[in-house]
Structure formats: structure tokens, C-alpha cells
Amino acid sequence: MTDETETLTRTAPDSGAQVTLPVHTDLLRLATAGSVDDGKSTLVGRLLHDTKSVLADQLDAVHRASADRGMSTPDLSLLVDGLRAEREQGITIDVAYRYFATPKRTFVLADTPGHVQYTRNTVTGASTAQLAVLLVDARKGVLEQTRRHAAVLALLGVPRLVLAVNKIDMVDFDESVYTRISEEFTEHARALGYTDDAVVTIPVSALHGDNVVERSERTPWYSGPALLEHLETVPVAPDPHDAPFRMPVQYVIRPRTADHPDYRGYAGQISAGVVAEGDEVVVLPAGARSRVSKVDTPDGSVARAAAGRSVTVLLEDDLDISRGDILATAETTPRVTDELDATVCWLAEKPLQPGTRVLVKHGARTVQAMLTELSARFDEQELSHVDTPDALQLNEIGRIRLRTAEPLPVDDYADDKRTGSFLLIDPSEGTTLGAGLVGTPLGPLASAVAQ
């Protein structure tokens, strides 16, 4: 990060207040995870509160509600309590999205509640996260649930982890408690394939604010950054630019107007790599080749565009291309197959059973498929192989084989998250049954399968 983020100071016309605005900021997508009562709502509430992302009327509501419940200080966790049914039950059951910003960065936070439905929620939050904040209660240390969460985050390929050792005030800011938890967690993360610089542990008190936004004087033995400071400065790997180019075609743009009688462009969001005018590309699954004649964006054409950008690609040759096809660099192409070996996170009430017919949504294509084999279920703690089950239940993770009615161009999830992921959909109900990851994305899983 540059030290000085470019900013602009203005005077608010109504209040006369001086406001500092970033000229532009980058975006960090993060997820939070933790067990019930570890203090996650309080921590998220405090991040929102201390970054001034909570406005007066919302804060008033929290003050009122806290007073109604007989509390003397406002309960910041109420800022993030969601739907009425959940408020009544006093638990959060679904991923909620929060937004906050500092002059350095804009944050999209997927708040994933940690109770029985944890896999469903964590997988959802982790699928788009560039970083995850895991919470533990300093009095309890690393629990089974913590290990499970970390394993799921590793499986989904979340590049960076933060362990917030919360309620440090309740262990009298004791360094040795923190060190023990920190070491145990770092070791577990290492076993899951994380390098040490990808994992940061921070002692915090969500309730009192220690090391959340400001470094605390009560943890003089801790020399690392406060949580927000870390979130603001941690390098964000942008979408993979150095990966081979991939783009699922979402829509074919053919205006057929007087101004554009022959325009034929393939619209999509680049999922990996870079595409440039003149590049040789392959259209999959058919395999036809052509060259890029133009890369259009909504603001005009560009010489090249990179992962994450929504563009329209024009080709030199007139090919038969439609929604669902994938454009890829001719140098390294995805493999085209109708037999998929994959890891699946099962998200539905009704169990997965071999022989089930499903729909597979991969990129912009939906095809019929048959679940031909369920070869393993994984232990949720270490994600090691446990058995060859008859079925996979809600929130379980296992290994499957699928036969698709039409061939799909895929990459391993470990190499490319977009062309390596898919949804399993119930053909009659339309519900999303599971999250699929091509191949065996996690090292320990691969060795378990080999056993």
C-alpha cells in the first residue's frame, strides 16, 4: 500500500463539517467465522461503529433496544442482528453482508454465523472472500469448531486468515494465554497448507475495543497491528492476472442496427488472466480457434483487460458461439470432460445419494448430470478421509464423481476458482443442493484419497 492514500477534503454543505474523502479506494472482501458466543456480533458491531459506518438513527435504535433489555452500555452486537425470526430466537442463521470503509479501503464483510448450519454459511461467505477473520474466546482457546472452520476456509482457498483471540480482557491480558492459542492455531493452519505470512493472530477485546481499531496499551507484549490496521494494509491478491485467460460467455451481443449491422460480441466477466487484441483463443467445449480482434468495454475498446472486468470480446472469425461456451487462451486450455471428480459441500436437507440426477451450473452453462459415485466423506476437523458412505448429509463434505450430459471445460479448483467451481441444483425444485470444487483442492484431502 502507498502510505498516503490520495484524499480530497471538502466541507459538508449542511453541517460545515470537514470531510475527508478517498479519491479512490480498493475493495477487500472478507468473511468472519466463529462459534456462538465468541463475540463475533460484538466485534463486527464494533468495526462498524468505530469506522463510523453506523449512522445516528441506527445507533439510537441500538441505544433504545439496549435500554429496553436493561443494559447500561449499548450492546453493539444489536447493530448486526438481522431478521425478526432470528432476533426472537436470539441467534443469527444466515450470512449477512456488512459494508464499511476507511480512507484506505472499502470492505465487504460476509458475516457467517457459526452454529449447526456452519458449513453452508462458511462455504457461502468463504467462496468470495480474500481474507477470513476467525474468532476464538481466549478462555476456551482453539476448539473443534475453530479447526473445522479453518479447514473449510482452506478448502475454499481463502488466501489469508486472521485469528482474533477475543475476550483477552477476561484472561487479564495474559500474554501466555495468547501465545499458546496463537501457536496452536498457526500450526493447524500450516497443516492445512497456509504459509506463516498468510496467517496473523491478534489479541482483541471486542467489547472494550482493545486492538480492534487502535493498538491497546493493555497488551504491551503484542507488537503487531490492530485488526482494522491489518485489514487496511494487508496485500490483496487481485483476481489472478498471471493465470491463463478464461472467460465464460454469458451473452452474445448482436445489435443488428443500422450503426452496427455486423457487430457480434461475446459478453462476459474475465474469470482469470488477461486478454489482449491479437491473442489466440480457443472456444470450448467445441475447440474452434480464432484471434481476438477487439476487446470492448462499456467505455470503449481497450488494448487489454484483466480478470474481474466485464468485457465484450470480438473475434476475427465467424464462429458458432453461444452462452455457456468458454473462451480460453490457446496456450493452456481447460480440460474438456464429461466425467468430473470433485469435492462437494452438501448444503441441502435431503441427503446426497449416488444415482441422483442433478443439474450442474458451471460458468454460464447448466447441464444435466448424474451423481455416479460417492467415494468418501471427510472428517470435518482435519478434512481427512473417513469412510465410503451411503449418503452425504447436510453440511457434510465428500468426494464425488459426476457424469454430465454434455462435456464441460474445467480446471482444477486449486488452479482456477471460477472454472473449477460449480453448483449442484435440484432439477425439479430448483434449489441449490451443493457447492462443487473440481479435483481435490486441499493437500490433506488429496493424501487421504490416495490412502
Partner: protein
């Protein structure tokens, strides 16, 4: 447009050596724009009869702008739907018609007044028509067989929205059931729905109010002038500045004053209040929003202030 960002900044971001000449998406607005365009194109590819719910407000104006960008140089492959409460500001209707004409769009209008005239709906004692929009909206969706309805809703607007999906499934009665919503993974959206059901789609889910205004500034999007400071005759009620119109005017003891005001949201004139403001330009508005102590809804919408769960109730009813 090429994004002019130094490559060493990208290197710092990615923690790698400088990658030459690759324009990164350093600005969060680029990422949000690409995400919204992706969503528009998914819907165009998966649904037969999408429509954009258009209120004349800033969020739906931004939606139209993004839809135009998503399909350029082809026209937007679906129409706009406006639920006209009959309590609209004239300026907003004029703005709507100009926008439709300028971009050659198709417009479908569902009128609350028609329902009141023939007795299908009755005027509420408080004169507010926002809650009456649900029936005409659902009828218009049914009559036109719309299967995907784009809305400008954002998750930062209200707590009950924080768990809303980008693709939000509605049953045949337009109702939203939190337990039937699907997990949304990666950027893979599941558009499957049964006959009679439809999908509400929210491309601006991940935008904040400030993002919307910064985008309006960057893209030079023209909005209804009501969003900017102007002189207006207003009267005070429930701590808001209301303006007289076809929906009624000041009661006894509510003196009319001339003020410099602007609107932060645009809706039913009977219950949408103006705020005192001298924000004449988009730059001024951005500074004001950044310094504001109130959410846009908290500031100006009487019906949202009725109860904490007001939004959630109306969402269940199919209004949002």
C-alpha cells in the same frame, strides 16, 4: 477506458513483482460496476422476460445506466416498469419520460390510481400510498409474465436487507421466505424458478449510498433535479419537510415556509420529506452524505420510521 494506475501499486497489492501494463481494478467502483454488469448479463441469458423496476430515484437511474452499459452497442433487451402511486412529483415523471425517450427504452406503467378509481384498493386514512403499490406491482408482473424483476435495493440500506440475496426468489404471491432463499456461492447465480414464481434481482446489493453517489459523479449520470438543493415551499410534519401536492397539503397549524432543500430519496410525495441542504452539485452531495449522521431512510421516509421491522414486513408482502 484504460485505468491509469501505476503498476508498482499493483505489485504492492499483489505482493508480487510489477506486472507490466495490466490495468488492475484498483478502484472499488470498477469492481462493483463489473459485478453489476455480470448480473445483468446472467439474467438476460437465463430468463425469458426480465424487467427493471424503475422509480425515478437515483438507484433505479443507476440501474438503467448499468443496463445500457451491459449490452452496448445493442439496446437494453428488456423494458422498465414504473409503479405510479399517483403521488409522484411532476419533475420525476418528466425525468422518467425524458430518460425513456433519450435511450429508446420501453416503459410499462402500473397505476395505483386506477385501482383506487375502480375500488380494487382503498385510500388509507393517512393518505400514504407506498403500501398500496404491492398489488399493482404483482399484477403487472403476472399480466406481463415477467420472470425476473431488477430492483435497486442495496444491503446497506437497512438491517433486514443485510441477508438479502442478489437473486431473491419470490413465490406466486410475490412473497419472500427467508428459509427458501438459496446460498449464493462464488459468482454463480441459480436462476431456476417454477411457473408463477419470479426472481427479484439486486445488482447494487454490494454498493453503499456513498458508492452510488461516487459512481453518479464519475459517470456523470443525470438525476432528477430534486436530489439537488433548490428553493421550495414546505411545511413541517413529524420532523420532516413535506411539500404540498395532489396528495394534500399543510393542516391547520402547519405554516408553509420557503426553504432551500433537497431530497435524499424520491417516493410517494405524501410521505417523502426533503432535508434542508445547500448541496447544489454532485460533489456537494457526496460531501454531505459522507458527513451525514442519518441514513437516507431514517432521514426522509415516514413509513420506514413506523417500526423497526417495517421493511421486513413489506418485503414479505412482496413490495420489495
Amino acid at each position: 477506458m484504460t485505468i491509469d494506475t501505476p503498476t508498482d501499486r499493483l505489485a504492492e497489492l499483489s505482493g508480487e513483482a510489477a506486472l507490466s501494463e495490466i490495468p488492475p481494478q484498483a478502484d472499488n467502483l470498477d469492481a462493483l460496476e463489473s459485478e453489476a454488469i455480470h448480473i445483468f448479463r446472467e439474467v438476460a441469458g437465463e430468463f425469458d422476460r426480465p424487467v427493471i423496476l424503475f422509480s425515478g430515484g437515483k438507484d433505479s437511474t443507476v440501474l438503467v445506466h448499468l443496463a445500457l452499459k451491459a449490452f452496448r452497442p445493442a439496446p437494453v433487451p428488456f423494458p422498465l416498469l414504473h409503479v405510479d402511486t399517483g403521488h409522484n412529483f411532476d419533475e420525476v415523471l418528466q425525468f422518467r419520460d425524458d430518460l425513456v425517450a433519450r435511450h429508446n427504452l420501453r416503459l410499462v406503467v402500473a397505476r395505483v390510481q386506477d385501482y383506487i378509481d375502480d375500488g380494487r384498493l382503498t385510500e388509507r386514512p393517512d393518505g400514504t400510498r407506498n403500501p398500496l403499490q404491492t398489488t399493482p406491482l404483482l399484477d403487472a408482473i403476472g399480466d406481463n409474465r415477467f420472470d425476473a424483476v431488477f430492483g435497486g435495493g442495496r444491503r446497506d440500506e437497512e438491517r433486514a436487507r443485510a441477508k438479502e440475496r442478489i437473486f431473491s426468489l419470490r413465490n406466486a404471491f410475490g412473497q419472500w421466505d427467508p428459509r427458501r432463499q438459496r446460498p449464493e456461492l462464488w459468482n454463480l447465480y441459480n436462476g431456476k424458478h417454477r411457473a408463477g414464481e419470479h426472481m427479484r434481482v439486486f445488482p447494487l446489493s454490494n454498493w453503499t449510498e456513498l458508492d452510488v453517489w461516487r459512481y453518479i459523479q464519475r459517470e456523470k449520470i443525470e438525476l432528477s433535479h430534486l436530489y439537488y438543493a433548490h428553493r421550495r415551499e414546505v411545511y413541517s410534519r413529524d420532523g420532516m419537510w413535506l411539500t404540498a401536492g395532489p396528495w394534500g397539503g399543510p393542516a391547520e397549524g402547519e405554516p408553509v415556509e420557503e426553504k432551500i432543500v433537497r431530497y435524499r430519496t424520491i417516493g410517494d410525495g405524501s410521505c417523502t420529506g426533503a432535508v434542508e441542504s445547500e448541496a447544489y452539485t454532485v460533489d456537494d452531495v457526496i460531501a454531505e452524505v459522507a458527513a451525514s449522521r442519518l441514513t437516507e431512510r431514517g432521514a426522509t421516509r415516514a413509513d420506514d420510521r413506523m417500526s423497526e421491522a417495517a421493511m421486513e414486513d413489506r418485503k414479505r408482502e412482496g413490495y420489495f
